[in-house]
Symmetry: C2
Subunit: 363 residues, 2 copies
């Protein structure tokens, strides 16, 4: 709207150009004709087209869209919170898409409605892994009770994670009672996803001693269950060895939750063997977490954590966007890096620049 | 100085009171008589009294002191960077103080000058662990070539860590060529200390299966060497079993450094057996890190990381100190926690409060 308005006000005084401006204005009016109420009603009634458009709105970086998105979310919020939110990660090649397709099929069969969100801030760089996933998940995607949404490509991890959270809420409001959030397992986005799901699943490859290769440190510790995939054919024995080894390694790590010992299982996403057992674990966890109040507590903590991270991101963006800071930061960082300036003195200089460096001090 | 000046200017016009003001001013002048130059010269010449006062200055939270401290640090900076900086942690009861006394004695014997800094933000709560440590380290503390400094009690972890960094630099400038930074091993301060030392040592207890108990997750992964202490008398065999188990567990963790596989050793701080071997590892690591340029790279990264964390802390402190933010934050956080307000909307409200909420938007 901003660009359109500015354009219109510049060329308004009569003539053929003003008709062009009018057309642009009308175009913008049409685009924003969908009110927050209409968006919310569409999503709540299960209108897939409006669901898609609502998510696009939520993903938009434009200021005007953000205000409208906030309004839509505010309306949807009372209808969220009912889904089982599960994060699924694993190194490339571990078979995440096949696993999600196998699990998703089972869940649909059991009467669930399933949304699959893919978080992949590096999709632009890795060149089309999202596209590959979508192709492989095609069977699942054709089912009307299933909604598959890749994350918008590009953007910062913080931005992608923020949008994924909101997309998750929109999907919940639309009646999807299982939300699977997939990440690529390279360590950047897992912690962000961990902070928006109820249960975090790590898929591993069979291969004695190497089963944790390719998994960034720290990810094992945030997993609520570890599953060695591809336990089929001649890999079956190796998968069982890997399972035992992983279980032993896990023994040395303090559990992420005081009341939950992450199980280690095997499965074959290809044959479907063991996939049901993985979901049994998720269900068992959920029942316990609801009964003990852990689920509610954690979601409350997640919401507050999210808010706090957004506040931090916002403050840092303002700081780094300040012209006076931008002017001196590279020089100051170089001085600090080569040991010529103490970080404390560097902080003082940056703060003076940020808060208006022209105030002279008396001391 | 601020308070004194304000007081003086209020009551200056003649009479007996002005003499009082003069006395106060003189008092402040005397306190600040030590110039940055004098502090720096004292520290560089190895004057222990001035070293202690310089550290007290660095630790001070008063604004006037901070400016002076910055000046002192700026002068000392060219003389820093030459020490081996080693972090030592472990659960309470693992024998950290005995280990440091044993190691410190050896280092003094080998011609080193040793500074021991203790980081313990919870010392007020745990009730005198610092005092206990100081008593136990008494033999070491009596040696003039050794300098022991507990962290100031209380304060936030960020504040304590910041002061410990600066204290470390001051000690280096004073000619201590080994700086040992001790933490209590409960997981709060280890990451902070890890980011200011060259080598991070984790002490463990013998006890099959339990050797990692009491160690917060994540600490094992940042250790550059793991040492099972108390490998003496009837504990010797148990310590060896523990060593093997820990080594096996370590196998499953991606190493923190691409070019260093953390060794697992045993020692007895009580008898001194194995303590020299621990130091051999530190020396071997250092030689490699210097040769490969890793040490320099890491110290550069540490300085920049420190600066960035301080910037973040500063921005957050400003935000949380803003009256309009303080007025609405508790309400907004409560709304978010109970799911009545979306974190995105909460962010928008907080930002409006922080940046002056009276600006009305046109859209």
């Amino acid at each position: 709207m901003d660009a359109g308005d500015a354009f219109a006000s510049r060329i308004l005084p009569g003539g053929p150009v003003s008709r062009e401006a009018e057309a642009i204005e009308n175009h913008h009016r049409r685009r924003s004709q969908i009110t927050a109420e209409a968006y919310a009603e569409g999503v709540l009634s299960g209108d897939r087209a409006l669901l898609g458009r609502a998510i696009t709105l939520v993903e938009s970086g434009a200021a005007a869209h953000q205000r409208l998105a906030e309004e839509v979310l505010e309306r949807l919020l009372p209808h969220t919170g009912k889904a089982i939110r599960v994060g699924i990660t694993g190194a490339p090649g571990v078979g995440k898409s096949t696993f999600i397709e196998a699990l998703g099929g089972r869940l649909l069969g059991a009467g669930h409605r399933v949304a699959v969100l893919a978080v992949d801030p590096s999709s632009v760089l890795t060149g089309g892994s999202i596209l590959g996933d979508k192709t492989r998940m095609e069977a699942l995607g054709r089912d009307p009770r299933c909604f598959i949404r890749p994350s918008p490509s590009g953007g910062t991890l913080g931005g992608v994670a923020r949008k994924t959270r909101e997309t998750l809420l929109v999907c919940e409001a639309a009646g999807y009672d299982v939300v699977l959030v997939e990440t690529v397992g390279v360590g950047q986005s897992e912690v962000a996803v961990r902070s928006m799901v109820d249960f975090f699943l790590l898929l591993l490859l069979p291969g004695a001693g190497d089963e944790l290769q390719g998994i960034k440190k720290g990810i094992i510790e945030i997993a609520d269950a570890l599953v060695v995939n591809k336990a089929d054919g001649e890999n079956r024995a190796r998968a069982e060895v890997a399972r035992q080894e992983v279980a032993r390694a896990l023994h040395y790590l303090a559990p992420a939750r005081p009341d939950w010992r992450p199980p280690v299982q095997t499965c074959s996403a290809l044959t479907g063997e063991g996939v049901g057992e993985v979901w049994d674990v998720v269900k068992a966890f959920r029942l316990r977490a609801i009964a003990s109040g852990v689920l509610e507590d954690e979601r409350r903590r997640q919401s507050l954590g999210w808010l706090r991270r957004m506040v931090e991101d916002h403050l840092l963006a303002r700081f780094h966007g300040h012209p006076a800071v931008q002017a001196i930061l590279p020089v100051i960082e170089a001085e600090v890096a080569r040991g010529a300036m103490a970080p404390t003195a560097a902080l003082a200089a940056l703060v003076r620049a940020f808060e208006g460096g022209d105030k002279e001090e008396a001391g």
